[in-house]
Each structure stands twice: as C-alpha cells, then as structure tokens.
Amino acid sequence: MSWVNTVLILGAAFLAVFWEAAFSGLRRLLGAQLDLLPPLMVYAGLCAGLPTITLLAVWGGLCLDSLSASPLGISIAPLFVAGLAVYSSRELVLRDQTLAQVVLGLAAGAGVPLLTLLLLLTTGHKPLLGWGTLWQLAVTSAGSALITPLCFILFDWLRRSLEHAPAPESSFRADREIHRGTGVT
C-alpha cells in the first residue's frame, strides 16, 4: 500500500529534523551538521510518487524552517526540485544499485543546500558564508551520499514488515494447459 510508504517517509522526515536540531555531536566533531532530508528525498524520488515527493518537500521544509532561523518556507523549493529531478529521471536510474544511490545522495546533499543558500541571498537575507561553507557543503554531501543507501535498506525492511507479502508466483500457464481429448491449446 503506497500510503504506508508515504506515512513512513513523512514520519522519518519529522524524526530526521528533530535529530538534526537535538543532537549536535557530529557538528562539534566535523564543524557541520548533516542534513537527512536530501537522502530521504532521493529515496522518495526513486520509490514513491509525485504526491509523496510534494508532501515530503512541504512537510520536511516547514519542519526544518520552524526550528531554524531561516525564513519559513525557504527549504520547500530546493527539496522539491531535488525530488522532481530524481523522479523525472527515475526510469534511467538503476535504483537498486548502491552506486546509483550514493551518487544521487551526493548530488542531492550538495544541490539542496546550494539552492537554499541561493534563495536566501535572493530574498535579501544574509546567511553565514565564508570559505568554511565549502567544507560544510562537502560534509553534508558526503553524509548524504552515505545515508542514502541506508534509507533504502531501512525503508525496504519497513515495507516488508508492514505490507502484505507479494503472492508467490506459480508455474501454471493457461496457454500451456492440456485439455483432455483436445490436446495442447
């Protein structure tokens, strides 16, 4: 059921934003906080429909901005653009391949913060920028690249646990059925 997947993704986004705000051990260690929404968006782009992507962008963006000094709504568009980009090219991507997941995670982890910064500067805000921003972008991209495959593993496990198991395929073929007296049809 796709609504199970949607609810799981939105719930994960909520928990991800809380984790980013409540736990700053990685920030002290690496000098930058990891953003968990881009990997989640990559997963949604490859495995969910456009309504789920839209809901994730709006819900995740609003939750993130509500705990941040960023203006409300600034994070919606970059997340949506990332999700739309992945969704529109999902037919070309080998979604089960770890390398594809890592590369998409890396791109999303770099693209979403860059788009957000661009929007902030365009709307007249002055975020904290400097040479250290490059290091922070590198950390968030690398973190996103590593977390994206984990998202796939986690959500696939959750879906298998919460959804009905697919019916086993049988070897019966109607076109090869033998009818008595008439031979093979």
Partner: protein, 269 residues
C-alpha cells in the same frame, strides 16, 4: 516529459512557497511556533532518555569517586560563599560612594534560568531554542548570558513555551562593544565565519586602534539592547582592513557556544 498533473503540482508548490515566504512576520512567527510545538513530545522523550542515561551512569560510578567529587564541591561552595560575601561588601561600598558622588544607583540585573533544548539544524545560522516563552515573561531582544555571566546572544522570537536565541557570531546578532584598553575603543561585534564558533570579529575600529591580544571586550551599552559591561571575550589579533580605513580584530568568546546547556535571560535591567 512529465504528465500534465505533474506541472499542476509544480505550480501549486511554487505558489505555496511564494505565499509562505511572503507571510507577514507576525503570522510567519506564529506558524513557526505552532509547527515547533509539534516537537514538544520528542523533547520530553529526549530529556527522559538523557536523564535515564545519566542515572545509569551514576550507578556505576565508584563510591570513592563520588566522595571525592562531593569534597571538591563542598570546597568550591565555601569559596563561592566567601566571594559572595566580599561581593556584597563591595556592592554596599559602591552604593555608598555613588550616593556621595551623586551618581544614579546601579540596578542589579534580574535574570531567569533557561535550558537549551534545540540548536539550529542549518549550518548558516547560529541560534538555539530555550525552554522559556511568552508565558514565562520572555520578549524579543532580551540579552542572554552563559551560566558564568558572559554574553551569549539575544532573543529573536518568542513562542508560548519556547524562544529562539540568536547567538554571537550570527549575522543578525550585532553587539556594540568596548575594548578595555587605554583609549577604550568601541566597535561592533559581528560574524567571523561559518566554522569556528569560538571566534567573532569586532569591526568599525579606528585605524589607530591600539589593541593587544588578551585585552577584554565588554558590551558598551550603546543600542539599548545589551546591558553595559557584560563580558564578551578577549582580543586574539588585529588586522587593518582594505585601504587602511580602519581595523578589525578577532575576539575569542568567553562563552563556549557549543557546550551551552543552560543560560541566563536578562529579564530586567
């Protein structure tokens, strides 16, 4: 190519983004506070988990270590009591001298203790959230101090149960400062960079500013937001700005912004 319904969704998202970005500031703040309140149950869970972990750790600490810590705390308590007594004597003497000179009496700061509950998840802002809100008497632009009394920042927005504090080093948190040197140079504290949260810059200094490493930097009281004479940090180094029009100095903050667990909010000056 996307389907027609996809283009409709794209337009709707763009419209929603524009509407939300252009909300009036008070409406946006209310929506933020409302969404932020959804995280309250998780805050309670996180607090309980930390308390449980702390209690578990306490059980495995040896008795000898506990006795040693107890003795150290008792000694520190005695020293602080003595310092407190000296401070009261000095304050009485100060008040008497002020009266003799005809100066206005200095009112002590009225402060309230708050816990730090969340930090800004973005890498380009420096802010925290504290567990006091409008129902606790919080309002915007109240100064916030570390437990040791050093300046940390100011309150930028207030919800019912929580408030957001902009920290020193955030581009939107500027402080009028004074350097304790012979010429009592004044400047403005601003951000120094996205990494290195222990350092800020003091700008708008005169080009002949005689700053030396180790000189203390305090609030000057100008601007009306931050009380006067609150410790900010100490000068690390100085460099002239382009074309020699002035100078800028790097200041190491007295408060460790990464390790804040509790803060004082100055509710009355």
């Amino acid at each position: 190519m996307l389907k027609r319904s996809s283009y409709i969704i794209v337009c709707l998202v763009a419209l929603l983004t524009l509407i939300v970005l252009n909300l009036p500031s008070h409406a946006g703040a209310r929506v933020k506070a409302g969404l932020g309140s959804l995280f309250l149950p998780l805050l309670g869970l996180a607090g309980s988990a930390q308390h449980l972990a702390g209690a578990t750790l306490d059980r495995v600490v040896p008795r000898r270590e506990l006795l040693r810590q107890n003795e150290a705390l008792r000694r520190e308590n005695q020293e602080l009591r003595f310092e407190n007594m000296e401070a009261r004597t000095l304050a009485r003497e100060n008040a008497q001298l002020r009266q003799l000179l005809g100066w206005q009496a200095r009112q002590p700061l009225k402060i309230k203790l708050a816990g730090v509950v969340l930090r800004d998840p973005s890498n380009w802002w420096r802010s925290i959230q504290i567990d006091l809100g409008s129902r606790d008497g919080m309002s915007t632009n109240l100064a916030v101090l570390s437990p040791q009394g050093a300046l940390v920042g100011r309150i930028s927005s207030v919800g019912l149960t929580r408030s957001q504090v902009l920290l020193l080093g955030d581009p939107n948190c500027r402080v009028a400062a004074l350097v304790e040197n012979e010429s009592r140079e004044t400047g403005v504290i601003g951000a120094s960079g996205p990494t290195g949260s222990r350092f800020v810059e003091i700008g708008f200094l005169s080009k002949s500013a005689d700053l030396k490493p180790g000189q203390l930097v305090r609030t000057s009281g100008l601007g009306g937001i931050f009380p006067k004479d609150i410790l900010i940090g100490q000068v690390v180094d100085t460099q002239p700005i382009e074309y020699g029009f002035g100078a800028v100095a790097r200041v190491k903050l007295a408060a460790n912004l990464n390790a804040l667990e509790e803060v004082w909010v100055v509710v009355q000056q």
